[in-house]
């Protein structure tokens, strides 16, 4: 009988102890209900938000391709490879199930949600230094604005989400937000960011005031608000924070990253964190057969290569050809660890862009001489003589050409064509000249909405023509 009593006692004791065990915390991951709660924890969330920009759907791989491969600057050497995900963009046969289309959408919103979490938690958390707290707010708003700016240019109207998600079901039926509202939010975020951001970065690679100014200027320029853009860009110039490198060869040198010309770059490093901070872009964007696993996606076209004159210092430093005569971008450096661990930062905004945007704006304001002055800063640096363009029309073309030559591989050309309204005419001519029976129409100017999103929520309507 004694035994029974003992076992019953053990039993009943166990019951209470065991019931408590039904509440188990995560062990190797943190829990959003208890994290981030302090400055140090929120800083980790901020870091993860920057880390979100490294995703393959963003600056890890797809963004530079989306900004250039549809254009006459770059092409896909093996368009059918990888299920045609790059080839479709190159040849304007993009399907709704293209994985770049879905990856960029997904990774953008994942990073946006991280900015939303930080912005939502920030007011309740005490920082040792209020300026740091203010800077973080500005950094998050800049990143959110950058991502929405990309989204609205690529997909047109997109759903606008600005809060920390508590219940994802609340987004069903939200549909797409008109582009004007998206732009209004981008403008609001950047305007606030300019006020909050410091002039100098606390760490290399953090968002600074001039980055928000440059980005907002680009947003204004895209919306044809040249006056507002000009003011901001001139402020960037006046800040004295940035200069052009003296030689093109110094701009993308791996040991000279975050130099005075760089305004904002997504940071990558080779051989750090167990080879987890690099990008696969070098591998994927190298000509087939030249590197292990090279895919030849997003290579500069031979036509573009031919536009560099013999004396152009950018030839051999920005762009080169393989012994087989295939052009390639030299802005990315061969990784020293594993091929997928490229250490080159992906430059989003740099001073050369500021100068060329100013050139474009001044030319539009009928100040060709001022415009030529800005343009020649870039030409001179490239070892070229001053521009021979005189008329506004000539200058328009000269500036556009210079942007192609200067920004090859940086994902600008397609957005430039969209911004200037020349995408259809330029590309149709280009295909004609290259013997390809591809014709663009209006619908090709936007990507399709990812099929998966339409399958999930049919209120997200598809773009016309897809």
């Amino acid at each position: 009988m004694k035994k029974i009593v003992i076992s019953i006692i053990i039993c009943s004791l166990a019951v209470t102890a065991c019931t408590d065990q039904l509440y188990q915390d995560t062990i190797t991951s943190k829990d959003l209900s208890t994290f981030p709660k302090s400055e140090i924890e929120l800083e980790e969330y901020v870091n993860a938000t920057y880390g979100g920009l490294q995703a393959s759907g963003l600056y890890g791989l797809y963004m530079p391709a989306l900004g250039e491969i549809p254009s006459d600057n770059t092409f896909d050497e093996v368009p059918a490879n990888d299920d045609g995900m790059y080839g479709q963009l190159d040849e304007f046969s993009t399907t709704t199930s293209n994985t770049i289309v879905s990856g960029t959408w997904r990774d953008s919103y994942q990073a946006i949600q991280k900015t939303n979490v930080v912005l939502n938690r920030l007011p309740e958390i005490t920082y040792k230094d209020e300026n740091t707290k203010k800077a973080r707010s500005g950094e998050m708003k800049f990143i959110r604005a950058l991502l929405y700016f990309n989204l609205v240019r690529l997909y047109g109207p997109v759903p606008l989400a600005l809060g920390e998600t508590a219940d994802p079901n609340t987004y069903f039926g939200q549909g797409r937000t008109p582009a004007t509202e998206v732009y209004a939010q981008i403008t609001k975020d950047l305007t606030e960011a300019i006020d909050e951001l410091p002039v100098n970065a606390g760490n290399p690679g953090r968002v600074i005031k001039t980055a928000a100014q440059t980005l907002l200027a680009k947003v204004y320029l895209t919306q044809a608000n040249t006056a507002a853009a000009k003011t901001l860009l001139e402020a960037v110039v006046a800040s004295g924070k940035h200069t052009l490198m003296t030689k093109p060869g110094d701009v993308f040198r791996i040991d000279n990253e975050n130099n005075a010309e760089i305004i904002f770059a997504v940071q990558f490093a080779s051989g750090v964190n167990g080879n987890n901070e690099g990008s696969a872009m070098f591998q994927i964007f190298s000509p087939s057969g030249t590197q292990s696993g090279a895919k030849g996606h997003n290579l500069p076209t031979k036509g573009l290569y031919a536009l560099y004159t013999a004396s152009d210092l950018r030839k051999g430093t920005y762009i080169d050809v393989t012994p087989a005569g295939i052009p390639l971008s030299k802005k990315l450096t061969l990784p020293t660890t594993v091929i997928t661990d490229g250490g080159s930062d992906i430059v989003v905004l740099r001073y050369a862009d500021v100068l060329l945007m100013l050139a474009e704006i001044e030319n539009g304001l009928h100040n060709p001489t001022v415009a030529a002055g800005y343009l020649d800063k870039i030409r001179t640096r490239a070892g070229l003589t001053g521009t021979t363009a005189v008329t506004e029309e000539e200058l328009t073309d000269a500036i556009a050409l210079e942007r192609r030559l200067e920004f090859v591989g940086e994902g600008h050309r397609w957005f430039d064509l969209l911004r200037t309204g020349k995408a259809i005419t330029v590309m149709n001519q280009w295909f004609k000249d290259n013997g390809k029976s591809i014709t663009l129409d209006e619908h090709n100017l936007l990507l399709p909405i990812p099929q998966g999103q339409r399958d999930t929520d049919p209120t997200i309507e598809q773009n016309d023509g897809y």
């Binding site: 190797t28 829990d31 969330y45 998600t165």
Partner: protein, 1153 residues
């Protein structure tokens, strides 16, 4: 001993009122109670009245009928004393033989003089001696039982007939015919109603089962030679579908009981080994099939409901062998065999492939600008015309096109596949004393895969001890350590490490070996680079160079003490544990290339380690009461189970040389650490009541608390009730020889499914670092979104069943069920602007209904030939009744072609309906077509009839989940020979063969075509009558990409498989007695001898494997962790180059002494 001794002993026993009962197997007469009130009655009437109230039958001769004028009036008196009274009043004697009680006139003397007979009784199948068999002289009370060697001695008249009976075996009559030595082999009776079925926290006689339970025995299991019981279950039980989704040795098949009741939670049934519920998804390989005694499958929630929140997918109860008799019995089972591929996949040869690649590249080039380009353009012209690399002809193919003899033509399938050997050695010892039984086994299993350098080795042992410590205390212990070592590859479709994926793109123009016999490295990569053909590495080199060894160390055991508190009331405490420690060791050296990368490449090494501890504490109280017409069994209990798992995966890189082929040679590392804990606390209770052994009722309730669920919903209750009626026990039921047993059953019950990983209710924040400049910065961001209300899914089911037996030989079990699973644990795709792609929610409802029939015919006596047959057939229909509010469908898969829509079944294959091919541009212009259609592309049916092909023209084409499954098996014995076979079939299955859609039959001109595609491809000149799309590489159109999701690649994967055929010979006992052996059986088996199917691919069971996702849903890149899978029910039936099921020929011997 005099010739009368036996009879005298029998008489003495009878007169003393002691009825000899056979040990153990049937209820003692003292615990059976009867009530009788009969006046001036015949003895036979009294006996039949007793028969009606009990499960006993009387056996008597006509002379008993003359005993009349008896009166008896008893109320709830034990049968023992009732019969004792009758012995005196009627001057008869009774003897119990299991369920039969023999009646004879007291002091009846036979006229004929008896003579001494010696004999031996063995099991017809195993040849093992059967101790304790009743041997009865027909029509008398004369009898004996066999001793531990299965031998008996009895004095019987020469013209007498001996009746041999034993629990679990068919009764046999043997005419003595003046023989002095008789050898009898009894045939095991697979459907004897008096068998005991394990039902979870107890067992129950088969007659009293009211739920849907199927039982499979060791003998049936082991007629298939495989590494785990799961493969052996195939076709053995209605409603239990076994899919050998990848037949790589050591890989777990998928087990599905009564269809798919979930969408994104796990679909694993709960597996309980000797009372210990394993963590879902844990490997089956640790239980050697030779150690299994029976498998009982609880199919309906009412039966399974005792396991509560883990039982919705059904419960499989495994009972391992234990010692049976006192005598030491040693059994050795050894077999060896050879396996070979049994699929129908056939690739084009070199000459065919050369033509195909050239056609594809030519047409790709020309179709981009047909007016200016021509297939006869040479390389320079093509380049000048802006051709891309894939529009150039492969530079080395001209000799093949010219038909030059003596060129390389490698059949890569022959290089990658091989004939593999398989062997198994099992040695077991069992025995015991009156109070203690033991079973000890040691097992070695070695299976080479049918793919080169791929194998499984297993060393395992088990110890089981059952002891009666005192009159009231029972003690049991079992321990089963095992080591599984797998020479493994990820059958993941990545041609850089999966040789089967490599087959798709490895061209026949290259050899696996150099002329000097060394492995050829990167030859195809180098040769194909100029025109960007498939840059594939030699799969033979990959398998030889890459080392991937997975070791699984596991010790599994439990022990219990049970104490009888009061008569019929037992308290049992069980403590069990499952300790798992795994190591995955992967090394990919620099001197072999990878897809698109020639060697040398940077070497890499991965080491993954798991340490899992799962333990269980269980206290149960059992009560059993048998009083008169009432019989009650009740159990109540409390259980606590916890699993604590730790996993680390280290990836090493920057490996300078191949000198240290493991992470030790690396200089840079990345580590993924993953740990989880889950806890389940449960209360359970069940009562089973039988009235007059005719009306059966039971009720069960389980209350489960689980750490996996949200803080707002920790606890759930799972009730069930069942009822049964054994109509054949009713007095009004016509006693006929034809229909000997009839039972009707009905159950209602609820069970849950909690397979969502340990932390799905939480928003998990995981590492996402950044680097400022080159300084790393620790980052953490949320990757999943939590749900504090998350709870189990609940399956509510009704089951109606019927059991019939005819002529004591033919049995029929029929069940109809309807199960509704609600609050599905659905990984709902959510709008991505939320920041998340999916969220786990309790949403939606799925219905499964079906009909199951099991038929058996046992011991059909065809003279010298004895025959047993059994068959089963099951249907299952599932239907999604609801998804998330407002959500009508989930469309998933890379090609968006798996449709789960309200009103339809789960995971329908969805896409276009291809009706033919376009041969001219004019035809395209005049017919609705997909955007981007070229001549040689497919005509797609305009389902909406609106004159253009849009996404609305897609429709559903069937599912992987078969409409019905069936099994048929038989056993035929003739003298010492036995022949057995088993068939298994699946009907109404459709597979999406993505390998064919993307490579073999796409016509893209990148991978190697199948022979079928090559023979039927359309080419205006080379093959104008072809009906499959024209080869086109450089300009592979959107039409062709869109039809990847079409009927073209939705393959009919019905099959009928001859699962096993076995011929066995039992050596005659007289040969063995000299060497002191009890049984030697020699057998030859063919497994998967033939599969009748239209499916041309690798494996008609192919579907995504569950490996690679750890218990908290985080993908573990080394694929080591074998726990809960998430999110693949919705892509059920997606197959690519899936490891095929092998055919094997095995020769073996079983010896006992």
């Amino acid at each position: 001993m005099s010739m009368y001794t036996s009879i005298t002993i029998a008489l003495i026993c009878a007169m003393s009122g002691v009825l000899l009962a056979n040990e153990g197997h049937s209820q003692p007469l003292t615990s059976v109670y009867v009530s009788l009130d009969l006046k001036n009655s015949d003895l036979t009437k009294i006996l039949s009245a007793i028969e009606k109230q009990t499960s006993f039958e009387f056996s008597y001769t006509d002379e008993i009928r003359s005993i009349t004028q008896l009166s008896i009036h008893v109320r709830n008196k034990s049968l023992n004393s009732v019969l004792g009274d009758l012995e005196r009043t009627a001057n008869v004697s009774f003897r119990q033989f299991n369920k039969t009680i023999a009646v004879s006139k007291r002091a009846a003397q036979r006229s004929a003089l008896p003579s001494r007979v010696n004999g031996k009784v063995t099991d017809s199948q195993t040849g093992e001696a059967l101790p304790g068999v009743s041997v009865l002289l027909k029509g008398t009370a004369t009898g004996t039982t066999t001793d531990t060697k299965g031998e008996f001695t009895l004095d019987v008249p020469d013209d007498g007939t001996l009746l041999f009976s034993f629990i679990g075996y068919g009764t046999q009559e043997i005419s003595v015919n003046a023989q002095t030595s008789i050898t009898v082999s009894l045939v095991a009776n697979s459907s004897t109603l008096n068998e005991v079925v394990v039902i979870g926290y107890g067992e129950l006689e088969k007659t009293r089962i009211t739920g849907a339970v199927s039982q499979v025995k060791s003998k049936e299991l082991n007629s298939y030679n495989g590494s785990s019981f799961a493969q052996q279950l195939s076709g053995r039980a209605a409603g239990v579908v076994i899919n050998d989704a990848s037949a790589q040795p050591g890989t777990n098949p998928q087990i599905l009981i009564r269809g798919i009741g979930t969408l994104t939670a796990g679909r694993y049934p709960l597996i309980v080994v000797d009372g210990f519920p394993l963590s879902e998804g844990s490997s089956f390989n640790s239980v050697p099939p030779q150690d299994i005694e029976t498998i009982d499958i609880l199919k309906d929630p009412a039966s399974a409901g005792i396991y509560g929140s883990r039982a919705a997918n059904g419960v499989i109860l495994i009972t391992t062998k234990k010692g049976k008799s006192e005598k030491l019995q040693v059994t050795l089972d050894a077999y060896t065999g050879v396996q070979e591929r049994a699929d129908k996949m056939k690739y084009a040869n070199a000459k065919e492939a050369a033509l195909f690649f050239t056609e594809a590249r030519d047409y790709g080039y020309v179709s981009k600008d047909p007016l200016r380009r021509s297939a006869t353009d040479d390389r320079a012209t093509r380049i000048a015309n802006g051709a891309s690399l894939r529009e150039l002809r492969l530079n080395y193919l001209q000799p093949y096109l010219d038909g030059q003899p003596g060129l390389t033509d490698t059949n890569w399938s022959d290089e990658v596949f091989r004939k593999g050997t398989m062997q198994n050695y099992s040695l077991s010892f069992s025995g015991g004393s009156a109070k203690t039984n033991y079973f000890v086994s040691a097992n070695y299993f070695n299976q080479e895969g049918i793919v080169i350098n791929n194998s499984l080795r297993r060393y395992s042992g088990s110890i089981r001890l059952d002891s009666k410590l005192s009159k009231r205390i029972d003690f049991g212990l079992s321990l089963a350590p095992s080591v599984n070592i797998q020479n493994y590859f990820d059958n993941n479709g990545n041609s850089s490490n999966d040789p089967l994926a490599g087959l798709e793109i490895m061209y026949p123009f290259f050899s696996p070996y150099n002329a000097d016999g060394t492995l050829a490295i990167s030859q195809q990569i180098i040769a194909n680079t100029p025109e960007d053909g498939a840059l594939a590495e030699n799969p033979v080199a990959l398998m030889n160079k890459i080392r991937y060894i997975r070791s699984f160390y596991r010790t599994f055991g439990n022990s219990f003490v049970s104490y009888e508190l009061l008569k019929g009331l037992k308290l049992k405490t069980l403590v069990g544990a499952d300790l798992v420690s795994n190591l995955a060791d992967f090394y990919n050296p620099s001197d072999v290339g990878q897809y698109r990368g020639a060697a040398p490449k940077p070497a890499s090494a991965i080491e993954g380690r798991d340490l899992n501890i799962n333990y269980l504490i269980e206290n149960t109280l059992n009560y059993s009461l048998h009083h008169g017409e009432h019989s009650l069994d009740a159990v109540a209990g409390y259980t606590f189970q916890k699993e604590d798992a730790k996993n680390t995966s280290v990836t090493g890189s920057s490996i300078a040389d191949n000198n240290l082929p493991n992470i030790g040679g690396a200089s840079a590392f990345s580590v993924v650490a993953n740990r989880y804990v889950w806890v389940q606390v449960s209360y359970l209770a069940r009562a089973q009541y039988a009235y007059r052994n005719t009306y059966l009722f039971s009720a069960t309730i389980r209350r489960d608390g689980s750490s996996r669920f949200g803080n707002n919903s920790k606890w759930g209750n799972f009730p069930s009730v069942t009822a049964g009626w054994i109509a054949s026990n009713e007095s009004f039921f016509p006693k006929s020889k034809a229909l000997t047993f009839a039972k009707l059953r009905a159950t209602w019950g609820q069970a849950g499914n909690n397979q969502i990983g340990s932390y799905s209710s939480k928003s998990q924040v995981v590492s996402g670092n950044y680097v400022y400049g080159n300084s790393p910065a620790s980052g953490f961001g949320a990757t999943t979104i939590g749900n504090p209300n998350l709870s189990w899914e609940t399956k509510t089911s009704v089951d109606i069943g019927l059991n019939l037996e005819f002529l004591d030989r033919f049995a029929l079990t029929a069940d109809y069920y309807n199960s509704d699973t609600k609050d599905l644990l659905l990984n709902v795709p959510v709008p991505e602007q939320s920041g998340f792609s999916t969220s786990v929610q309790n949403i939606g409802k799925v219905r499964n209904k079906g009909l199951e029939l099991e038929l058996s015919a046992n011991d059909i006596d065809l003279g010298a030939v004895k025959l047993s047959l059994s068959g089963n057939i099951a249907t299952n229909k599932n239907e999604v009744l609801a998804l998330a509010p407002g959500q009508k469908q989930i469309l998933t898969g890379t090609e968006s072609n798996f449709l789960t829509r309200v009103g339809g079944p789960v995971a329908q294959l969805y896409g276009y309906h291809v009706t033919g091919i376009f041969k001219t541009q004019e035809q395209i212009n005049s017919t609705p077509h997909l955007p981007g259609t070229l001549p040689g592309d497919y005509i797609v049916e305009d389902i909406t009839g609106e004159g253009q092909i849009t996404q609305d023209d897609r429709k559903a084409f069937g599912t992987y989940n078969p409409k019905y499954t069936y099994g048929f098996s038989g056993n035929l014995s003739y003298k010492n020979f036995e022949f057995s076979f088993a068939l298994y079939g699946i009907q109404g299955r459709t597979l999406y063969d993505r390998g064919m859609a993307l490579q073999e039959e796409s016509g893209e001109g990148f991978g190697v075509p199948s022979k079928y595609y090559f023979d039927h491809r359309y080419h205006p000149v080379d093959n104008p009558d072809g009906f499959l799309g024209q080869p086109n590489l450089g300009n592979f159109s959107n039409n062709r990409k869109a039809v990847r999701a079409s009927n073209l690649f939705y393959k009919d994967a019905d099959y009928l498989r001859i699962r096993n055929v076995q011929l066995a010979y039992n050596l005659p006992t007289k040969w063995l007695s000299g060497v002191n052996m009890t049984r030697v059986r020699i057998y030859a088996t063919a497994n998967n001898l033939f599969t009748f199917t239209k499916y041309r691919g690798f494996n008609p069971d192919g579907t995504p494997l569950d490996n690679g996702v750890a218990n908290n849903g985080i993908t573990n890149n080394n694929g080591l962790t074998n726990t809960t899978q998430i999110n693949n029910v919705l892509t059920n039936g997606l197959t690519s180059t899936t490891y095929p099921v092998a055919r094997s020929y095995v020769f073996g011997v079983t010896a006992s002494f």
